[in-house]
């Protein structure tokens, strides 16, 4: 360095200082930003003596033939690129501007290695290469937001959750052919917004510039002003903003160096992303406590099995939070579960979740809550643990709830049987219920408890909201069959208002409801509506066939309103064509008056 | 005439097509009138008359006419329609910064300092190719090229410090440089019979090599301003009878040597008038001893006789002649293909042509003869 005369030195410093001050506010200029690698730079990584700022990337003469007078050689690394089952884009190796960023940020090339200095005398830096950490992307880009694909009309037509490229803000420049580059989101000179972002990531504005997720703008995750204090899984990790809504996508996703590569999740285990907050501290309700109960949908049992592209018939057995919830679209369910009135329509927490229709077709957006359940429970991926062997076996509850069945609880369609007179108002003949009217957390808010709604976990097997005994010789009580008595008035049943021998069987003989009734529905089997009205589908471990002159037979015959006959053997008694009818109900007196035009189902 | 010939074909097909289908205009006007109109239009389109400039300016009889400036081969020689061109990747013939030129047998060779290659333009067929190396010897700073009678190329590469000899197809490569590893920076080459003259600005001398063996035969010159010495000899050219002309750049003069390399005369001196020279770079000599000197400082081309008599200065009225810019390389061409000779106006009798390269990226072509 030449020795300067004093006057010139001062004048020079003044001139340089003046130029810097006039140049720009420190924020939006590269001067004094993290990319100011000169010896006077602010960060821990900087040159030891070099006082020029631009030289680390640019040089006016002798530059590489890339557009911005590039002063570095390109890395020759082959990168592992992002892969996901839900990507429609064709992702290639990074090119052009992305390679320029990666020439420092992949940790392979020395930072001081610039073309304008001989390779034997690079610029001496405090760190030779970028140190391992969040800024070192390494050559494994599969855990980073994908780049190197063309974001064009074809892509946005295929992937409906991307905005059309024409309406993406021009502040986010794409490459010459619409390619996504590092420089689409980052401006290497301007650190005004932090992380050298081109748009703010508060409320994930920069993310939703391109990603158009169904239901996000109104979702509770986007609008929540809950603070992120009290997280369970990553309690010490610093999130950029204080509230869940401000963090937006970053609550669950990590754009660079994501622990869970596919879909860039912040947690290796999928459910951790939810349980992080939904364990009683950040979010309103403690789901973690529910899924720890005896009967549960516990997502923690399996990892990396769920895939959003799975089909209900071919998927492996698993459950995750995202099987029932779409975290981008969830909304508060302020109304709560009201059995019988709104039960069938999809509510906030399950908006835009996928499901399987009653006819067996997988749909991206379920319209009804039961469709979400049918995804797994419809056709037999998951059969209940306490499988009761019955006359007619339903393989999966989808078969049980078919509207063409002889009898069914009205989940998929309203029931037409006029004879259900035990229903507690506001339920009536023609009402519809949904799965969560029976299968719910025992502490659910909708049922009077203080916990979350929904079949996350319950002390009652199989994930029932209330107690339901199914063993023979159970002493009748309000608690024993609480599940049934929630909708069917106990007094009506025990006063024999419908079946005249209920009291005799249930109280006298201590038979459970499930001995004769099938709680979901009876699929088409032998007999049809004559044999299986009123959900009659005998539990063969309690009820056995009777010996008749025509052979062993177990049969129920519906012979009219509130009358029928049974042929079976049970508790040591054999009934052969034993008829019954209810004298109180003979005649045309009906309790529910607004029935549809009569007729048996 | 290539381009017009092509247009002939298309215009004919257009006319014949129009005969087949009913058309209101076609029916109103006889078809031969339409065809002729198309022909006329295409003919005038191929030759931009505005580029022509006569030296000396009219009304004096013109001796030199500037024909065209161009940046790509397609501007000079329209390419033949190539049915395979859809499938073949088109390679642009754009030049970066041209330096030395050479012309032989219908091929114009252009050294390109920006792209570090030698362009080989075939003026007959209109095809261009870029030569970046010879048998793996990559050109780093190809500043001048010369072609001998056998068609071999001699490329002076300043940064390599070698003159690379190869055939036109890039084989039989020999790297010519002084033995002993002395610093050698060749900036210009000229060939006469089996003598290769190389201007070396490291030692400020002209080195004469044998083209057969590649050995150094003798030196001419050295540093100095006396006759026979040079300050930065940037250009060499040889006459048909073996005399050597050297543009002595920093002395602002041209020196002439006999075939035995004895000093004959020098002409030119610093100044800013007719007869003075600025910074002469490359030069070319015609068969009848007319010397064309590219002057980078005056941005013009001096025309001298080999006795030193100033004949003409090719420069515009405002001192900036379009396409002259930073003149560097000169090549004289006899027997040019029709594409170039057709540029000459009919009333000008061109004896030979001069190509001039402009360091700012374009090339110019002049026709020299007697006309009007």
């Amino acid at each position: 360095m030449r020795r300067e005369g004093k006057f010139w030195g001062v004048a020079q410093a003044l001139g340089a200082g003046l130029c810097v001050v006039v140049a720009a506010r420190a924020d939006e200029s590269v001067v004094n930003s993290k990319h100011d690698l000169s010896a006077q730079g602010p960060g821990p990584i900087r040159a030891v003596q070099e006082n020029e700022i631009c030289v680390f990337c640019h040089t006016p003469h002798n530059a590489a033939p890339q557009t911005p007078l590039w002063n570095r050689a390109n890395p020759r690394t082959h990168y592992r690129i992002y892969e996901s089952s839900t990507t429609e884009a064709r992702i290639d190796q990074p090119s052009g501007p992305s390679k320029m960023c990666l020439s420092c940020h992949d940790g392979s090339m020395a930072l001081g290695n610039v073309l304008s200095r001989p390779v034997t005398h690079p610029i001496v830096m405090t760190a030779r290469t970028i140190p391992p950490g969040t800024k070192d992307l390494t050559n494994d880009l599969s855990d980073d937001h994908p780049i190197g694909f063309r974001y064009d009309r074809a892509l946005s037509n295929q992937d409906r959750q991307l905005k059309a490229p024409e309406i993406v803000s021009p502040d986010l420049p794409l490459g010459a052919h619409g390619e996504m580059h590092c420089t689409t989101c980052h401006d290497p000179h301007n650190n005004e917004l932090g992380d050298f972002l081109r748009e703010s990531d508060q409320m994930s504005l920069i993310c939703i510039s391109c990603h158009d997720l169904k239901g996000w703008p109104a979702s509770s995750h986007a609008l929540s002003n809950k603070t992120t204090v009290g997280r369970v899984v990553d309690a010490t990790e610093r999130l950029k903003y204080a509230t869940v809504g401000d963090n937006g996508c970053m609550n669950c996703h990590k754009v660079h160096s994501a622990p869970h590569r596919e879909r860039l999740l912040r947690f290796q285990r999928e459910e951790d992303g939810c349980l992080n907050c939904h364990s009683g501290a950040v979010a309103s309700f403690n789901i973690a406590a529910d899924i720890g109960k005896r009967s549960n949908h516990d997502g923690r049992r399996r990892t990396d099995v769920h895939d959003p592209t799975e089909r209900s018939l071919t998927m492996r057995r698993h459950v995750e939070c995202v099987d029932c919830h779409n975290p981008h679209a969830v909304e508060h369910n302020s109304i709560g579960q009201v059995a019988g009135t709104f039960g069938q329509v999809l509510k906030g927490p399950n908006f835009f979740a996928s499901g399987t229709t009653i006819s067996g077709r997988d749909v991206q957006q379920a319209s009804f809550l039961y469709e979400v359940c049918l995804k797994c429970h419809g056709d037999g991926v998951r059969q209940g643990p306490s499988e009761i062997t019955r006359q007619v076996t339903a393989y999966g509850v989808r078969a049980a709830f078919q509207p063409s069945n002889p009898s069914f609880h009205p989940v998929a369609a309203p029931r037409r049987n006029q004879d259900v007179i035990s229903l507690i108002p506001p339920l009536r003949v023609g009402s519809m219920i949904t799965c969560t009217d029976c299968h719910n957390s025992d502490s659910a808010r909708a049922l009077g408890g203080t916990g979350a709604n929904g079949p996350h976990g319950s002390i009652n097997e199989p994930l029932l909201a209330r107690n339901y005994d199914t063993t023979d010789s159970t002493t009748e009580s309000g608690h024993a069959y609480a599940l049934c008595y929630a909708c069917h008035a106990r007094e009506s049943i025990l006063n024999d208002e419908s079946f005249p021998l209920h009291r005799r069987h249930v109280v006298g003989q201590r038979t459970p409801c499930s001995a004769c009734h099938d709680p979901h529905g009876v699929p088409r089997g032998s007999g049809g509506s004559v044999n299986h009205a009123s959900l009659i589908n005998f539990d063969l471990s309690i009820v056995t066939a009777a010996k008749t002159p025509g052979g062993s037979k177990i049969e129920y015959l519906d012979t009219g309103s509130f009358s029928g006959s049974c042929t079976l053997a049970c508790h040591g008694v054999t009934h052969v064509n034993f008829p019954y009818s209810n004298p109180r109900q003979s005649g045309s007196r009906r309790i529910s008056s607004r029935a549809t035009a009569g007729g048996r189902p | 005439m290539d381009a017009a010939g092509k247009t002939h074909a298309t215009s004919f097909s257009w006319v014949s097509a129009s005969i087949r289908f009913a058309h209101p205009i076609r029916d109103a006007v006889p078809s031969w009138v339409i065809g002729f109109g198309v022909l006329l239009g295409s003919c005038t389109a191929t030759r931009p008359a505005a580029e022509l400039a006569y030296f000396p300016a009219p009304p004096s009889p013109a001796r030199v006419v500037q024909l065209r400036t161009f940046r790509r081969l397609e501007e000079l020689v329209p390419p033949k329609p190539d049915p395979l061109s859809l499938f073949r990747q088109a390679r642009g013939s754009a030049i970066g910064r041209p330096a030395g030129l050479a012309y032989a047998a219908g091929h114009l060779l252009i050294c390109d300092l920006e792209l570090a290659c030698v362009h080989d333009w075939d003026l007959e067929t209109g095809t261009a190719r870029r030569v970046h190396d010879a048998e793996g010897v990559e050109f780093l700073h190809p500043v001048a090229v010369a072609v001998d009678d056998d068609g071999r190329w001699y490329v002076a590469d300043t940064d390599r410090g070698e003159v690379i000899r190869s055939t036109a197809s890039g084989s039989d490569v020999r790297r010519i440089k002084p033995a002993g590893g002395a610093r050698f920076r060749p900036v210009s080459v000229a060939v006469h019979m089996d003598n290769l003259f190389v201007a070396d600005i490291a030692a400020h001398e002209i080195q004469v090599y044998s083209t057969a063996t590649g050995d150094l035969v003798r030196h001419i010159g050295g540093v100095g301003d006396e006759p026979g010495k040079f300050y930065f000899p940037l250009g060499v050219a040889s006459t048909r009878d073996g005399r050597l002309l050297v543009s002595d750049t920093m002395n602002s003069r041209v020196q002439v040597f006999d075939p035995q390399s004895h000093f004959l005369r020098a002409f030119g001196q610093p100044g800013n008038r007719f007869g003075d020279m600025g910074k002469p770079k490359h030069l070319g000599v015609s068969h009848d001893g007319v010397v064309f000197v590219a002057d980078a400082e005056f941005e013009c081309v001096h025309v001298f006789s080999d006795e030193g008599q100033l004949l003409l200065v090719l420069v515009g009225d405002d001192g900036r002649r379009k396409g002259t810019g930073v003149p560097f390389g000169i090549a004289l061409a006899y027997d040019v293909p029709a594409a170039v000779s057709s540029l000459v106006p009919a009333d000008f009798n061109a004896e030979y042509f001069v190509f001039l390269s402009n360091g700012a990226g374009s090339l110019g072509v002049y026709a020299v003869g007697v006309g009007r």
Binding site: Q66, L69 | L140, H141, L234
Partner: protein, 193 residues
């Protein structure tokens, strides 16, 4: 003995002072100071500045008898001279022949040692010269702000070699810059980054 002392005390420092280690007066001792050059002979300024010939020539060119004998060639070189002269006069020598090449392919050892494959062509790029300064662009400061700084010039409204480089090196900066590039101040005079 006294002579030796005198030599050490007087002459050697004198040599040091005169050896060219004088950054302040940038021109002396710079690479464009051709007075030291062996080949610059009597007129070192003539390397760049066209010497003026007072006398018009006696005869016109042989083929052009009507030429104006008072005609002069070359351009007087001033920093505010017309467009193009700020670059053409530099390129004359700085094309790899006389002096270091500033256009296109460069030092071989750099490209060999930095084996990253360049994606476009074989050559190298340089800062554009001879181009108009961009009129209104948020990436660049306005032209009058640039010239108001006093060091950087835009001859004819264009960016030329002389916009950033002073061939006389009066400022004494390295690379013959018109001002110091500490903290990239020269770059940031025009580029708004």
């Amino acid at each position: 003995m006294m002579l030796r002392m005198a030599f050490r005390i007087v002459v050697i420092p004198l040599f040091i002072m005169m050896s060219g280690e004088t950054p302040k007066s940038g021109f002396e001792g710079s690479k464009h100071d051709f007075r030291k050059a062996e080949w610059a002979k009597s007129d070192p300024c003539a390397v760049c500045h066209t010497p003026v010939n007072e006398k018009p020539p006696a005869m016109p060119p042989l083929w052009d008898p009507k030429a104006d004998l008072n005609r002069t060639f070359g351009t007087p070189l001033a920093r505010s001279a017309g467009a193009g002269s700020g670059t053409a006069v530099c390129i004359r020598c700085h094309d790899g022949t006389v002096a270091r090449n500033m256009i296109g392919r460069k030092d071989p050892f750099i490209s060999r040692e930095h084996p990253g494959r360049f994606e476009a062509g074989h050559g190298r790029k340089d800062h554009p010269v001879g181009v108009d300064y961009p009129p209104i662009d948020r990436r660049y400061r306005p032209a009058n702000a640039v010239t108001a700084s006093g060091s950087v010039t835009l001859p004819g409204g264009k960016v030329e070699c002389t916009s950033c480089h002073d061939p006389h090196n009066f400022s004494g900066e390295k690379h013959m810059l018109v001002m110091s590039n500490a903290r990239s101040a020269l770059c940031l005079t025009c580029h708004k980054k």
